[in-house]
């Protein structure tokens, strides 16, 4: 054995061996050396691992949400361009500015300015189209619960059905217990909440402008390309977005914007930015108050592909059912539900008012299916034992949601460190997730190891906003250890 202290690993030779650049004699000589030199053997092992991992790094593609940063980069480009022009023309402009300033001082008396509360614009801002005129698109309903009406461009009013497409210029009004999901394009949809009244101001391929008059509209917007716009107008403000999941609500003349994912900017009628929200978070426009979001937003249903319509599945109102979960969407079970689903076998899960779950499979033909009450009764009684089983979720799926949620919790920790710079430790959260993937309960387990109560509460609240893939059946419960550490 060669003494490792006196010996440097033969790095170049080992790299040549790994790259198969050595002659047969060189290989044989090095192998003889490796049999006696533990240090070189270890180095060769590390070199091989490195080669393997380097290939993995090169094969990995970063997942970057460019659409999300598009708006910010436009603003930075604008600011940088302004700075650059300023520098370029600074000297000649300076002389002019000095002269102008002297004149202004002579002509104007200085006036005292007091801060003014943010005035609400008088009228809804109409945004002029940025793209060449494109044909308007026809939007399809993907789900309808309860009753809603549509007012056509000619002023005629009719009851909204799943088969009635909606168009630019029309208005939709929902009853107090209704919910309507509208597919606006590829991966883009909106869900109108109970009692909502909206105007479909502009439905074009690259531009969607929605006027929200009452209630709430929750949008799921695909990643927009430069020049594309998706804007919700409400109370004179414009809420613009670049690829996100957000909700705009009007309540007692207050405008509330909640963002689950992505980034939205709120501007007033003078195009002044009055707020921007990065999800998860919310913003009260009148007061400027910022907060987290209380609960997961409705997921607007994007069903089917452009140009084709999926068959309709209709479910009657059923008193013992609290929530329907069908094909990845959840609906309160008040009122009759009609929705677009893919033809074939569809899993229908009913969460009963007593908390139990009933799950069954229905076959939806191409022409659609209306489930009658007696059939539904039979379905809900069946599979009783199966429905009580716990759901399943792969550890990787859990880990991925927890890892994605950690930056949100980091803010809790950083705030806590401002008060107690020595806070560190571990705590374990027991997290209960329902069949739809919503977190229903988060409780700290065992000793929180010196982690302050307010920090534990903040972390719990943050974890309650996490959304997991639906585990099915009656949901799952698992433990998530959280480690808090820092360096001074």
């Amino acid at each position: 054995m060669i003494a490792s202290r006196a010996h440097e690993p033969k790095l170049r030779a080992l790299e040549a061996l790994q790259a198969q650049r050595l002659s047969a004699a060189g290989r044989a000589r090095l192998r003889r050396h490796l049999e006696r030199c533990e240090l070189c053997e270890t180095t060769l092992r590390g070199l091989r691992v490195h080669t393997q991992l380097t290939a993995a790094v090169r094969a990995s593609a970063p997942q970057v949400d460019f659409a999300r940063m598009e708006l910010a980069m436009r603003q930075h480009a604008r600011a940088a361009a302004r700075r650059s022009r300023l520098t370029r023309f600074a000297l000649p402009a300076a002389a002019v500015a000095v002269a102008a300033a002297v004149l202004l001082v002579l002509m104007l008396r200085p006036t005292q300015r007091t801060p003014q509360p943010l005035a609400r614009p008088a009228a809804v801002q109409k945004v002029s189209p940025a793209q060449p005129e494109a044909a308007s698109v026809v939007a399809m309903l993907t789900a309808l619960r309860g009753t809603a009406t549509v007012v056509g461009t000619d002023g005629s009013e009719q009851r909204l059905t799943l088969d009635r497409p909606v168009r630019e210029g029309e208005r939709i009004a929902l009853a107090a217990d209704a919910e309507v999901h509208v597919r606006l394009g590829t991966d883009t949809a909106m869900a109108l909440g109970p009692a909502a009244r909206v105007g479909l101001q502009r439905l074009r391929e690259h531009e969607t402008f929605i006027d929200l008059l009452e209630g709430s509209v929750t949008s799921q917007v695909r990643h927009l390309q430069p020049g594309e716009r998706y804007v919700v107008h409400a109370l004179g403000y414009a809420v613009s977005v670049v690829g996100t999941h957000f909700s705009v609500s009007v309540d007692d003349d207050q405008l509330h914007v909640a963002v689950e994912q992505g980034h939205v900017v709120v501007t007033d009628a003078q195009d002044r930015v009055v707020g921007d929200v990065i999800g998860p978070g919310s913003f009260e426009v009148a007061t400027g108050t910022r907060a987290g979001i209380d609960a997961a937003l409705v997921k607007p249903r994007v069903a089917g592909v452009p140009g084709t319509a999926w068959p309709a599945l209709s479910l009657p109102q059923w008193p013992s059912v609290a929530t329907w979960q069908v094909d990845g969407s959840s609906f309160a079970a008040s009122g009759q539900l009609a929705m677009r689903v893919p033809a074939g076998d569809v899993t229908l899960t009913a969460q009963l008012t007593d908390g139990r779950l009933r799950k069954t499979l229905v076959r939806v033909p191409a022409e659609g299916l209306r489930v009658e009450e007696d059939v539904l009764r039979r379905l809900l009684r069946a599979n009783d034992d199966e429905a009580r089983e716990a759901g399943t979720l792969k550890p990787d799926a859990i880990m991925s949601v927890v890892q994605a949620g950690l930056p949100g919790l980091q803010r809790c920790y950083e705030l806590s460190l401002k008060q107690r710079p020595d806070v560190s430790g571990r705590l374990t959260l027991r997290i209960a997730v329902d069949a739809a993937g919503r977190v229903t309960r988060v409780t700290p387990r065992g000793d929180a190891g010196g982690v302050p109560e307010d920090l534990v509460t903040c972390i719990r609240t943050g974890a309650e906003r996490w959304r997991f893939p639906p585990p099915g059946a009656s949901g799952i419960t698992f433990d998530a250890p959280i480690r808090l550490s820092h360096q001074h």
Binding site: T42, R45, H50, Q52, L53, A72, A81, L417, L484, H486
Partner: protein, 209 residues
């Protein structure tokens, strides 16, 4: 001297569209450089955005003395380095399987493969975190980005010999660390078996008439 790209000239003149076009044209490259510098758990989105803000601010100072791509690498690498420095000083919150408790990755192909690959990359970058900033930068640019020592020398503004020395010591330290990392033990065994299998096959092939 590299003749200035008209797009770069327009951006330097304060053309907002040109700046945006630069973002669109180079965002994939910048994201790749940042990802490889920071690893799978890095705040790639934030750093990419910071890098472009820095590019927009300093493009006026680009004189065309080097290729635009070299200048871009320099700016992005420096932004990533600054981010790594600040990350070391930030409080950390972590969950799930702690790196030191992580189980060795399975060799079997299956649905867990992606998670295994991720765990291995995390282990690699954990070891990279132990290298000095200069050694790490050179190693990332050479081994992951495939740049030559001369190109790296231009980016980090150091002589080629210095780059080669940093690379030598970076690899030496990294190989020693990777060989003993428990998360990577199974990878080490896997590549050892593959290498010895290849060597035996070579011997067999060599012994045949």
């Amino acid at each position: 001297m590299d003749p200035l790209d008209p797009l770069v000239r327009r951006a330097q003149a304060g053309d907002e569209r040109a700046l945006h076009e630069l973002f669109v044209r180079h965002r994939q490259d910048v994201a790749r450089i940042v990802f490889r510098a920071l690893g799978p758990d890095g705040d790639v989105d934030d750093v990419v955005q910071d890098a472009f803000i820095q590019i927009f601010r300093s493009i006026g100072r680009f004189r065309g003395n080097s290729k635009f791509s070299t200048w871009l690498y320099r700016v992005v690498t420096n932004v990533a380095r600054m981010h790594l420095r600040s990350r070391r000083a930030r409080p950390q919150i972590a969950s799930g399987v702690a790196p030191e408790d992580a189980k060795p990755a399975s060799l079997a192909d299956g649905p867990e493969q992606e998670a295994e690959r991720h765990a291995r990359l995390r282990a690699l970058y954990r070891q990279l975190d132990q290298l000095s900033e200069k050694k790490r930068t050179v190693l990332v640019l050479h081994d992951f980005e495939g740049l030559s020592p001369a190109e790296i020398g231009e980016i980090v503004e150091a002589p080629v010999l210095t780059v080669r020395t940093r690379l030598f010591y970076a690899r030496k330290e990294l190989y020693a660390a990777l060989a003993t990392d428990p998360v990577l033990a199974e990878v080490a065994e896997q590549v050892r078996e593959a290498a010895s299998g290849g060597a035996n096959a070579g011997k067999r092939a060599g012994s045949e008439p």
